[in-house]
Symmetry: C2
Subunit: 205 residues, 2 copies
Amino acid sequence: MTSRTRKSPEVRRAEITQAAAHLISQHGYNGISLKDVADMVGMSQPGVLHYVGSKEGLLSLLVTDIYDAYGTPEEFLQTGLPGSDPEHPHLPAYFDYLVAHNASQPELTQLYTVLETEAVATNHPLHDYFIRRPAEVWERYSEFPWLLPKGMEWATDMRVRVRMSLEVMDGIQIRLLRGPKVDYIQEWDRFKALIFPSPLWDGYR
Amino acid sequence: MTSRTRKSPEVRRAEITQAAAHLISQHGYNGISLKDVADMVGMSQPGVLHYVGSKEGLLSLLVTDIYDAYGTPEEFLQTGLPGSDPEHPHLPAYFDYLVAHNASQPELTQLYTVLETEAVATNHPLHDYFIRRPAEVWERYSEFPWLLPKGMEWATDMRVRVRMSLEVMDGIQIRLLRGPKVDYIQEWDRFKALIFPSPLWDGYR
DNA sequence: GTCTATACAAAGATAGAC
DNA sequence: GTCTATCTTTGTATAGAC
């Protein structure tokens, strides 16, 4: 009987992680309690604590289990999508992939947006993580042999474009929290056409 | 003696508002307590409550006393700055003014950024306020006789540009919370050149 | 108007039974 | 592994003195 089978620890952790992601994406880390999570997974509050150790532990679990693993350049290079040739990947094409990934997971994307601003507090568990993010992302991207238009240098010309693209994504994600509704992908496409304009980027997007 | 003069209610309210703005901009509304505010202004926690009624009242005070009053188009039209002619104001010039205003008040800008994402929670006191913001701002802007390049229609062509500009500002403001440092005005200038490009917008910016 | 004292609820965490 | 009971702290809010 499935209903009488004890749930494995992995399943429990996954349930807890998912419930926490849902609740925190809507109320923030400071806006929820362990009891809220417990109620959602049908456990007692100490029951949840048994798995996560502490409330901060819950957050670490979220970041390690959910972020940093999806929507990465590595993942993109394995898709076989246009511009994903591992020898000369196209940066705009990767950004398209990243945006599509975010758009397909609105709850996770909202979670990210909520956490990244909540983490301005110097005593927030994820403060350092987010402060260092831009530098870390830049370094990660720098390891790939992106195909650039003639005469463009990665370390100089692209730094601004990468930063602008990520700023734009954050800006759109905030706008997604409001009305009237906008379409993430459509909105990104507009900016992409500006940041990677024709004719210079034709064939390099 | 100034030091023995009882502070007037207005001064007290201003002190409390300012302390709350400072604390909330760093920790969010859910991240602070009335005691934190009380300590900062040198009062007891019930003393603060005497002025604000409740914790939510503190937030209302912030919004009404601080927002919606500064960085407005009305204000811009009175500056006499380039593009501020009330007969034919320039929208990009107003955005420059808005960005300069935000950049000169980093704490208030951060407060705004923190609150606007915290308010995704449907039970947040400012939820409705922020949900409606884009529509309300669009309507407010629509009341001015902006000077546009030949053939451009406000209601159609400009809707997207206004939205993109505001998305960009939100995106930059999130980026400001992180390292390495970026310059708000410089970053906006880059986007402005893309959203209001030459030669079409020459003389209209 | 501002304080002390206090009521009341909620939250995180621990102890220990089963 | 999960629960009940409980400890401790913190936070909002009220009552009442000065």
